[in-house]
């Protein structure tokens, strides 16, 4: 392979074919974006106008962001829930991961098995008792409740545990000899060393929370507390035939994700590949 310098003809051909394939693959997104800039009467003209004749972008987005279903509010809700969930989940997972990998204590193995078992449980199988529980302890229809649901994901513990196990035990032993407790070791020694792994998990958790549809659907009732996925759906059923507006809403909901993904793509892809994780 290394002997081959310059451009390889076969590679060029495959690249071109794959490029065409990727465009076809992304076509729904391209159509969505273009449609969100159009006036309604142009949405379904055929052949498809890939460049709007008449731009209506500002009006469409203004309606989505400040209209009857103001996305400014749903954005704020989504950001709040996703940021707090991500932070809490990283902390809880990292603590558990440290506890299970770096502290030798009785029952550690048994407790880890319990956590392991919950990993297999399909979330939907426990929705009903969670719903009943939430109704009775007053977490129903609140952001706090939503945040709690997302913060105890076992997945983060598994991912981070791998990394904590990679840290040499000597680090911890020598810190202990210097008189540091586990709290100190965790925060000032172990966490900085696994920072890249925590960042990867944080991005994934953020994306999953941002996209979560099922929990808000079941656990949130008030309009003003809705997060984006439900807002998009509500907006769609309210807007009826105004497809340009619906597409502007869809673009608004997806865009931050695409941006975060492009910025953090290396760690997202590596994290997915490493942990083989499916949100």
């Amino acid at each position: 392979m290394q002997t081959r310098e310059g451009l390889d003809l076969r590679k060029i051909v495959v690249t071109i074919v794959m490029f065409v394939g990727s465009i076809l693959f992304l076509l729904p997104f391209i159509w969505m974006l273009v449609t969100s800039f159009k006036v309604e009467s142009e949405v379904f003209t055929y052949p498809i106008q890939w460049l709007p004749k008449e731009w209506n972008a500002i009006e469409n987005y203004k309606e989505v962001w400040f209209g009857q279903y103001p996305f400014t509010m749903y954005y704020w809700n989504s950001i709040k829930v996703a940021v707090i969930t991500t932070t809490l989940s990283c902390l809880v997972s990292a603590m558990a991961a440290y506890g299970f990998s770096k502290i030798k204590f009785k029952a550690s193995n048994f407790l880890f098995m319990i956590v392991l078992v919950t990993y297999m449980i399909p979330g939907q199988a426990i929705l009903i008792p969670q719903f009943i529980l939430y109704r009775n302890i007053g977490l129903f229809d609140s952001h706090l409740g939503l945040i709690m649901l997302g913060s105890f994901s076992v997945l983060g513990t598994f991912m981070l545990r791998q990394f904590f196990m990679g840290l040499h035990q000597e680090f911890i032993e020598s810190a202990k000899i210097d008189g540091a407790g586990h709290g100190r070791i965790f925060w000032s020694i172990a966490m900085p060393l696994v920072k890249p792994a925590v960042a990867t998990y944080a991005i994934l958790r953020f994306i999953w929370t941002w996209n979560d549809y099922q929990n808000p659907l079941i656990f949130i009732r008030s309009d003003r507390l809705l997060t984006l996925p439900i807002a998009v759906q509500k907006f769609t059923s309210m807007s009826g035939e105004f497809y340009s507006l619906i597409m502007a809403a869809a673009v608004s909901a997806i865009l931050p994700l695409i941006l975060i993904f492009i910025i953090g793509q290396k760690s997202v892809i590596e994290g997915i590949a490493l942990g083989g994780v499916k949100g």
Binding site: I128, F152, Y213, I254, I258, K278
Partner: protein, 313 residues
């Protein structure tokens, strides 16, 4: 896990001094402190609900009745389930949906091999094919809903333009709705599977290919004899996660079809949701949850057994 097993089986030295004993106690205490937030959360939000689901599966209960309204009916719910046409249909649809798994695995494997070896701009392709996976399913489903619009949607306009005068009505047609949703699901899943396959490819030792080159093996032989067998752990992993994910499909159905038209896209989780949160039949829905749980458990155990026979490490 090996490490933990080892530490557990290590008995404390017989003549442990008082000091090491108290050190060990300190370790145990801090161990508990570190894992307790996760444990408490998991216990309250997962473990207790599992038990509650199992129990409620044997009850006839409606959300509006309050706790006094619980009637214990034994296995009646399960008997009813197996005579419930809608439930059986949902299970059947879920099994038909499983067909998406080998399809997206195959496409992803081909894409992964091409991207890993035969293209320039690898980074671009990884991102491009991954975008549907990271995008919000709800927003994507809304877009597809419009694309599939039967009378003037872009897809049918295109089909008409190439001479198909009577294109399918897609999600509005009971015969096509499930297939339409399966296509979307394939499109979403390709990115995830592809990334895992690329990681799998990168772990295959390069010298195997060099040796094959020396023996004069062609591309197809190399694929059949090296790439495919050595990817089998990856394939197996993707197969299992794919099957489990199929049992959890919800967003696309909920947004696009709500199980319709006439139950043609009702899947187990949708039926569970509909029974519990629309028809408010808690007990009956719990028994659906138990069946769902049993399926996932069976798959997971099946995986342990099959792994030994199936996978080349």
């Amino acid at each position: 896990m090996g490490q933990n097993l080892e530490t557990l089986s290590q008995k404390p030295p017989a003549k442990a001094s008082r000091k090491t004993w108290s050190l060990q106690k300190g370790e145990t205490l801090s161990g508990f402190l570190f894992v307790s937030p996760m444990l408490i959360g998991v216990s309250i939000l997962v473990l207790i609900p599992i038990i509650a689901t199992l129990v409620l599966g044997f009850a006839d209960w409606n959300f509006v009745q309050g706790f006094d309204g619980i009637k214990w009916v034994g296995i009646q719910n399960f008997v009813n389930l197996f005579q419930d046409e809608m439930f059986l249909r949902s299970v059947r649809n879920t099994f038909i949906f499983l067909l998406t798994v080998p399809i997206y695995m195959l496409v992803s494997m081909v894409l992964a091999i091409l991207i890993d070896r035969y293209v320039y701009l690898k980074g671009y392709f990884k991102i491009a094919y991954f975008v549907p996976y990271v995008s919000m399913t709800v927003a994507v489903a809304v877009v597809w809903q419009v694309l599939f619009q039967p009378s003037y949607g872009p897809i049918n306009e295109m089909l008409k333009a190439i001479g198909i005068s009577d294109p399918p009505k897609w999600i509005a047609d009971p015969n096509f709705a499930l297939i339409s949703i399966m296509m979307i699901s394939i499109w979403i899943s390709i990115g995830f599977n592809m990334i895992i396959y690329i990681a799998g490819l990168q772990s295959i030792p390069k010298d195997l290919y060099e040796a094959a080159d020396i023996d004069g093996a062609n591309g197809w032989t190399k694929f059949r004899r090296i790439t495919f067998p050595l990817l089998s752990p990856t394939s197996f992993f993707l197969l299992v996660t794919g099957i489990i994910a199929t049992f959890k499909v919800f967003d696309v159905v909920a947004v696009m079809t709500q199980g319709g038209p006439i139950g043609s896209t009702s899947m187990m989780v949708w039926y569970l949701y509909e029974t519990a949160f629309i028809n408010l039949k808690v007990g009956y829905a719990s028994s659906i949850a138990v069946v769902l749980f049993a399926f996932v458990l069976l798959i997971t155990f099946g995986q342990w057994i099959a792994q030994k026979k199936w996978v080349n490490y």
